[in-house]
Symmetry: C2
Subunit: 399 residues, 2 copies
């Protein structure tokens, strides 16, 4: 359903530059701008230590209108006190000025090192030239500029139709570490030209985030800066999509697909990761219990190192299910690696099948299914393996 070659959405333009915030000189500042104020929704970090850009942007987004997103990498503007808030405000104002729009229509977003003051002078010098570079159909420049430890840019899009009018959904994201619900150092910006009713846009985004960015883990750490924003500028000219309509269902399917696509890219790009593993729990008492069990397996360091070692170590999986807090009857548990059953009724199916399962673990992407055989609850969680390179990247990050 998703496409990787969509580069633009009607009425949105993009620009990026190297402002000198990153020491490396790589692109680190970007703008996403809608021709007209767009309807918007946002989901923000649940961390109680919240970075200044989140403190500034969350109430602006809640008002329902946004025309521009200013985002930088290389500095998170987190744990920077009152100065950090002033700096975020100043940068938003700079963008508003350069674009000729009200500053409260600007959302600001930052990612990078915590605790260092934002180099505002670099924003001042870069802003006018940056605004001058705005162009359509070049989302990739934004995707590049928001990367920190990411090894590849993350863009996904989908097309749909409402009331006979075709529309596009285009998303861009960054994230590779501090990745865990809710939501980790994860930035996601989604643009659409579809017209969405105010009540619908929020519900659509929350649902899609829950099934995507809030169902992935790299390292259990939730950051101070996370945000996912959805901007809808209505340029498609469709009748506004309302909650409960067939058009709403179609839009949600596409939005889900775009966000899940981006979320899987983040896990695939997880710091040091060599594998993308879907933990599928079914047969739980309900969906919430399934998600809790899946999360427990997906976040276990012992499970994740076993994936790296390509070891069909179901003992660690069953132990993680056991301490998840979800209801479990050990004698009913089934575990499969891909299609290969390794545990039935809580005990091994034998060495032969375990050897076959090892072949599944040698592939770069596979599913581990845990069937609790208790009820109809099910959930997916996506995780990476825990590798030498994860340790290397995170032991060295600031040096």
């Amino acid at each position: 359903m998703t496409k990787s070659d969509i580069q633009g959405v009607a009425g949105f333009s993009f620009a990026a530059c190297s402002a000198g915030i990153k020491k490396s000189g790589k692109p680190d500042l970007a703008l996403i701008v809608s021709e007209t104020p767009a309807r918007c929704a946002g989901v923000f970090t649940t961390n109680k230590v919240v970075a200044a850009p989140v403190l500034l942007s969350a109430p602006r987004i809640r008002k329902g209108q946004c025309q521009a997103i200013l985002v930088n990498s290389g500095n998170a503007n987190a744990c920077t006190g009152a100065q950090g808030m002033q700096d975020a405000l100043r940068c938003g104002a700079l963008a508003g000025e350069a674009l000729g729009i009200a500053e409260d229509l600007v959302a600001v977003s930052s990612t990078g090192v915590i605790g260092a003051p934002l180099p505002v002078a670099r924003f001042e010098a870069a802003m006018a030239p940056l605004a001058g570079k705005l162009a359509e159909n070049c989302i990739d420049v934004v995707a590049q500029a928001i990367m920190t430890t990411d090894s590849f840019a993350k863009v996904s899009g989908a097309a749909g139709e409402a009331g006979g009018k075709p529309y596009t959904i285009l998303g861009v994201a960054k994230g590779a570490g501090m990745i865990h619900p809710n939501m980790a150092t994860m930035l996601g910006f989604v643009m659409t030209d579809a017209e969405l009713e105010p009540a619908f846009i929020d519900a659509a985004l929350r649902g899609a985030v829950d099934r995507s960015f809030n169902s992935i883990t790299v390292d259990r750490d939730t950051s101070t800066n996370d945000m996912v924003l959805l901007l809808a500028n209505g340029k498609a000219g469709n009748p506004a999509i309302a909650v409960g309509s067939p058009e709403a269902q179609q839009f949600c399917e596409r939005l889900d697909a775009v966000l899940l696509d981006l979320a899987k890219m983040i896990v695939r790009d997880g710091e040091g990761a060599t594998k993308l593993v879907r933990i599928h729990v079914c047969g739980a008492k309900d969906d919430a219990e399934a998600k809790q069990a899946a999360c427990s397996v997906a976040t276990s360091n012992l499970v994740k190192t076993a994936f790296f070692g390509e070891d069909a170590n179901w003992g660690r999986i069953i132990a993680a299910v056991g301490y998840s807090g979800s209801e479990v009857d050990p004698d009913r548990i089934e575990i499969r690696f891909g299609d290969v059953s390794v545990v039935r009724h809580g005990v091994t199916t034998g060495a032969e099948l375990e050897a076959k399962a090892t072949e599944v673990l040698k592939t770069p992407e596979f599913t581990v299914t845990v069937d609790l055989n208790l009820g109809g609850g099910k959930a997916d969680y996506y995780t990476s393996d825990l590798t030498y390179d994860y340790v290397k990247i995170n032991a060295d990050y600031r040096t």
Copy 2:
């Protein structure tokens, strides 16, 4: 308060052998035997997938009398179904027979690989010679035989006096991975010749475990096999120590010290660990909130890799406090590495102090203090760093 050179307790004898349960041929089977039935208490894994030896021993211990502990390494007898329970029963019966005591006075305990059937024939062949080797003052042989990925044997003891009678507390433990409350692949056996009242022995053990084995983490994984047993045979001849007495307080202090000593050895021996870090949270609303915040910091992979990298990365610590769920006012947080203050009022104290903090991180053991400045709650948590070797050990464990 603790001593590492105590090798025995009046009325207890020990034996160990290589029964061939471990492929390596290293010692893997041990007995701890009291001359007479001892009063006992136990704390067991909270995992819902519980190994057969725990299922068998927990109700026996709950009856309050135990005379012998049979413990093996190399095989956890977990996820082994009905056969596993029969095997545990059989091994306990073999020990009872060899010792000439009732089999329900035998506690059995296992640690090692999950899901493989227990090689009962090896127990049968080893039991009589093992019982024949029982001797006093040689707890070290037990400590050696219960090791799995442990790199050193863990023994600690303390001496006390009650009613004019001197007594000894002697503990032995194993554990290096799957270490997290409540309680991880952690076995602990504590023997004392003090006479303890039934109501006191249980409370004393639970309190001590909470402040020691349940305040450490290596990798967040709680195993299927954990148990800590306390046996008190009364050979010291003291009047039974009762709850609330001055003797009880003294005994608890000593028991706490022995268990904390063993717990810290486990973290120091954490798989691949090069550092033992005490996370001290104070100024929390209450002790429970302090422990929750300390646990969040202690279990963060990003924090643990930063310790390995000797990076005073307080941003990751403050982020972990922020998502812990405990009440936090970001502007009040203080963080110290050793005595070096790196964060005051939620912001950095500057590059100079951060450089000084880096010196603290270069030492093998240090304390990180997080002062929330909200109330009087405090707690300690002990953790290790996350290293290449952790990944290596756990990616290769079964191969």
